[in-house]
């Protein structure tokens, strides 16, 4: 028995080592960092402990800008992307020919490099000395004068960021909702058809309750994902997000750590913990709401 136990642990050893060093220890350490004031990464010394790091970031205009951007991004993209995904999945489930082709096409953004394809969005939306860009050309057809979406006004930049974010997150949502819709028992629909129920009513009274667990799963993970937005913004506006006024909370954390503005792991830790607290709060609210509205088949 003794040998058997040792063998079990031996098989687990590599995983435990890796997780311990790169996941558990850092998790504890980040809280310690966030309370160490005046930490110097070169000499590894600090002056004292307290909440100064938190108060510093909460008074930093860049952090407040990042919080504002992140909240706008979350509020705009989570409901919108979920609704669009629901619409597209519903259309997908109501057709037969070509369904697989459409599914394949819709999933494509999932496997692309966000940084690389972001550059394509940049040139589509950009207005420079040589050209107004394709998007402005299309807008011109509707009599709208050209806007620089990449270097221009705040709302225009925010619009592109939201648009690109939705483009990037939709594949996952469509995939999940399509399989959720496919798993609704055919008999419910048949029963409703015999009763002569109208399609919209069927959707509201049968489909929606049946897929509500998956829908809420998507909303919860959508919130978490959107709060951690970062690389989409880099792809569109470059690495100096503060200058572009397009930084996100995660971007602020990384900027504090590294780069021209870096070298402050304590501030980074405090910002990361504030982000985590926000995400945790929102997730708890979501779970409370979902308890009321989600229909679980027992």
């Amino acid at each position: 028995m003794e040998g058997k136990s040792a063998k079990g642990w031996l098989y687990l050893l590599p995983a435990i080592l890796f997780l311990g060093v790169f996941l558990v220890y850092p998790l504890i350490d980040v809280f310690i960092y966030s309370f160490e004031e005046g930490y110097n990464s070169a000499s590894q010394t600090f002056f004292g402990t307290g909440i100064y790091n938190y108060s510093y970031i909460l008074h930093d205009p860049y952090f407040l800008q990042a919080v504002k951007n992140t909240f706008i991004l979350v509020i705009a993209t989570v409901p919108l992307s979920t609704l669009i995904a629901l619409g597209i999945s519903y259309c997908l489930s109501s057709i037969k020919p070509l369904r697989e082709l459409y599914q394949t096409v819709f999933f494509l953004p999932y496997v692309t490099n966000t940084l690389a394809v972001g550059l394509v969005f940049m040139i589509l939306f950009q207005k420079n000395a040589y050209t107004d860009g394709l998007v402005n050309l299309v807008l011109g057809l509707f009599g709208i004068s050209p806007i620089d979406f990449i270097d221009g006004p705040y709302w225009a930049k925010m619009f592109v960021l939201c648009f690109y974010t939705i483009w990037v997150v939709l594949p996952f949502k469509i995939l999940i909702l399509t399989s959720a819709l496919a798993s609704v028992n055919e008999e419910y629909y048949n029963a409703a058809k015999i009763d002569g129920t109208r399609p919209f009513r069927i959707f509201r009274k049968i489909t929606l309750p049946m897929i509500s667990p998956m829908l809420f799963y998507l909303i919860i993970t959508g919130f978490i994902g959107a709060f951690k937005a970062y690389s989409d913004a880099v792809a569109l506006f470059g690495t100096n997000l503060n200058a572009a006024e397009m930084n996100t909370i995660v971007g602020y954390v990384y900027d504090m750590l590294y780069g021209d503005s870096g070298g402050y792991p304590s501030y980074a830790s405090a910002a990361a913990i504030v982000l985590f607290a926000i995400v945790l709060t929102i997730t708890c609210i979501n779970l409370l709401i979902s308890k009321k509205h989600v229909h679980y088949v027992g």
Binding site: K4, S5, K7, G8, W9, Y11, L12, P14, A15, F22, L23, P26, L27, D29, V30, Y33, G87, S94, I95, L98, Y102, T104, V105, F106, F107, L108, V111, N113, T114, L115, A116, V117, L119, V120, I123, L124, Y130, T131, G133, L134, L137, W167, L175, I176, S179, P199, T221, G225, K228, Y230, S231, T239, V253, L257, Y258, P265, S269, A272, L275, F276
Partner: protein, 289 residues
């Protein structure tokens, strides 16, 4: 009575046709939005530099496609270097991950020992730890160990994934116990049983996990950006950012797009080959990615 029924049936049918047309219209519209950036990137990458810059109104096709942008993507900037680095990083990380997670999944599913279930619960709870919290200490750890701008520093923190251990453990557990005891009677050792029986049976899941990890590695940006500032160790994501900011000069967009095509192509090919597996794997519990 009879006529009414026929009538309502007919209107139901027209309603269905109408809904179908609308469905196809919406789906095609979104398909165009998804595909257009890909079309535009390939199109721009084969346009001549001079002619691209002279097009105030961009053309939707080109009559004189050229491959010179691809040539300059490989000569003017170290795209090949970034590409090779990414391949090395992806292969080593994925291989190491398999070496770590397969024994762990085996221990959780087949070996019984004291504390196993407690450790498994602990592992599961680790899935909830957000990456953004741990990356800060990992960055200082790797810096303190002097592992910045090395493959070791790039790879080590990206090796384990609790989720994949979980996925594999579930699959291993489905293999009936009888098989294990029969092999034991024959005197087969655990390691041999793992390699000769369990891994072949669970190959589909192992392949899925491998592909998902490859996608993750190929697209990883945040960690490589933190621990490398020497372009000799850049992966493609940082490479493309470097190309954008200091590469061809901001105006040479066709060459930039050629680099984007080169970077995107491997994963798109992988996706088209393993389409079903990838979508299934992601649906089973991948996250946003």
């Amino acid at each position: 009575m009879n006529r009414d029924m026929i009538k309502s049936e007919r209107s139901a049918k027209t309603g269905k046709v109408l809904r179908n047309v609308l469905s196809y219209f919406i789906l095609t519209f979104w398909a165009i939005i998804v595909l257009f950036p890909f079309y535009w990137m390939v199109l721009t990458s084969v346009k001549n530099y001079a002619s691209y810059n002279s097009e105030y109104i961009p053309k939707f096709f080109t009559l004189a496609p050229t491959l010179e942008n691809y040539a300059s993507a490989f000569t003017a900037v170290p795209l090949a270097r970034y590409f090779i680095n990414t391949v090395i990083f992806t292969v080593l990380t994925t291989a190491l991950m398999l070496v770590v997670i397969i024994p762990a999944a085996f221990a959780f599913s087949r070996l019984s020992f004291k504390g196993r279930d407690a450790v498994f619960t602990l592992f599961l709870s680790m899935m909830m730890i957000p990456y953004e919290l741990v990356v800060i200490t990992n960055y200082t750890t790797v810096t303190d160990l002097g592992l910045r701008n090395t493959f070791t520093g790039l790879i080590l923190p990206s090796v384990t994934s609790v989720f994949y251990i979980y996925l594999l453990k579930e699959n291993f557990s489905q293999i009936p116990d009888e098989l294990y005891y029969a092999a034991k009677v024959d005197g087969t050792r655990d390691l041999k049983y793992l390699f000769k029986v369990m891994i072949p049976i669970c190959r589909p899941t192992i392949v899925t996990v491998t592909i998902l990890k490859v996608i993750e590695c190929w697209n990883s940006y945040v960690w490589p950006r933190l621990v490398t500032d020497d372009p000799n160790y850049f992966l493609v994501s940082n490479g493309i950012q470097e190309i954008r900011e200091n590469g061809f000069g901001r105006e040479n967009i066709p060459a930039m797009m050629a680099a984007v095509v080169v970077i995107s192509a491997p994963l798109i090919v992988l996706f088209l080959v393993f389409r079903r597996k990838i979508m299934e794997g992601v649906a089973r519990g991948g996250t946003k990615g």
